[in-house]
Amino acid sequence: MSEHLLNTVLQIADDHLILGHRVSEWCGHAPMLEEDLSMPNMALDLIGQARSLYTYVAQLEGKGRTEDDFAYLRGDREYRNCLLVERNNEDFAHTVLRQLYFAAFMKPFWEAMHTCSDETLVNISHKAVKEIAYHVRHCGEWVIRLGDGTAISAERMHDAVLALHPYTAELFEIDNNRQQCINSGLFPDSQALQPAWTSTINQIFTQAKLAVPRDEYPQTGGRKGLHTEDFGILLSQLQYMQRAYPGASW
């Protein structure tokens, strides 16, 4: 069982690290000072959650590896994050939408985790749910403002929806590892979270005057370790120091 649990926790740990990395790229470059503060704030939440999750993965594995070994020292085919979180920031519309899509999934996920049977994950879920609820609110507000702002912002928001919506299906994907965890009551059933996610997105999109596209060709692959080309560039930054100075501690 611990193999299934390890692999599944690793998926969500990677989601949080990689999204945190992307969001952190805004720090100092945001459209206004308030967002120069809220972007690193969200990155801190996400990377903080990733740390708790990697620490748990290391503990489940029991081979003496650390959070940093998992975060920094794997090849790109070994990362299990969904593709949505690795997509480039592009512009502010893409960034807040990507965050909303992810947070609208993680909020009911962590809520459902409260009643699962793994003590460590239950503990993580209580802290994480408060943080992610803020991400839904903050990014939801921005999606509404941009969608119902000016003609230019509406067009950018619309483009972001077209670009990112195909990546949302992967949030609900269940592989064999996750299925085993769901069966044992360790993990929430991702498919069962779909109505909550859809309701959040519909509600925000209605206010933002955006249409929810039909997903005819969903993009997936991250859970199997098949990533987009941009991901390798991300890793080359993330891993640079650890690769350049093997074995050093910082």
Partner: protein
Amino acid sequence: MYSQGLIGADSQPVEDQAFLDAFQRRIDAEEKIEPNDPMPMAYRNTLVRMIGQHAHSEIVGMLPEGNWITRAPSLRRKVALLAKVQDEGGHGLYLYSAAETLGVSREQMTEELLSGEAKYSSIFNYPTPTWADIGTIGWLVDGAAIMNQVPLCRCSYGPYARAMIRVCKEESFHQRQGYELVKSLCEGSADQKAMAQDSLNRWWWPSLMMFGPPDTDSQHSDQSMKWKIKRFTNDELRQKFVDATVPQAELIGLSMPDPDLKWNEEKNNGQGGYDFGEIDWDEFWRVVNGHGMMNKDRIAARKKAWEEGAWVRDAAKAYAAKQKQRTAAA
């Protein structure tokens, strides 16, 4: 956009001798001057310039350190760096608010920064090529900033003094965090220690320049001291910084890039202090006047963020206007 209620709300008193004397008596009695109090225009302008420069320094200061967020070598260091850079942004916000109490808007100050009219601390025009620079900036740059800023907690202008109390607490944490980072490099491999020494070599002299020109050349010092905006001169603060920092470097096995550095028993009224070598003021003025390695890149980065973010700010305003109309119509 941010302080419309305040802009132009101040009526400027007639600055006759009686008024100036009365103002000076308040300063001498250590009374705090508050936003609605009458004050000489030159006092107001000095504070707007100082607080504005300080705020801009925090904002531009996010860039050299932000340069390493995505490459931080461990998750622990990454979150510490993110939190630190976020703190700097918070200080900027806080200081812009303090400046706004003097009747200047954040937008106006931002435009002055982007046009090159307003200055910010020159130290941020140096590059951060290595990870060690993140530690060195915390240790030396935040350390020098604290030397400058602790006396500002007693500055005669109330909003600035109060803002500085919080800022100093956070800067002091950053300074210790930076020193701890450099210390751990010194305890690491030969490569790591060399990285720390190289970084110290590059940042030491620019850090000493952070205190500004020597007292003999400083344009603003005398009046600012009289108004208790400043409490110590540039050279006094620089000496304090050298005396505090040299033993810290020795403790972790680093050497200062200054062959003339030596202990002098006579200094500081017989308490002892360090003599140090001649600062390259030509370099200082070159960087202040816009010709350091990163001056143009820093402003370009801020301009890019501001210009590329315009559509976002416009959308927020347009949405707010629509909501107002909808509420009125309902």
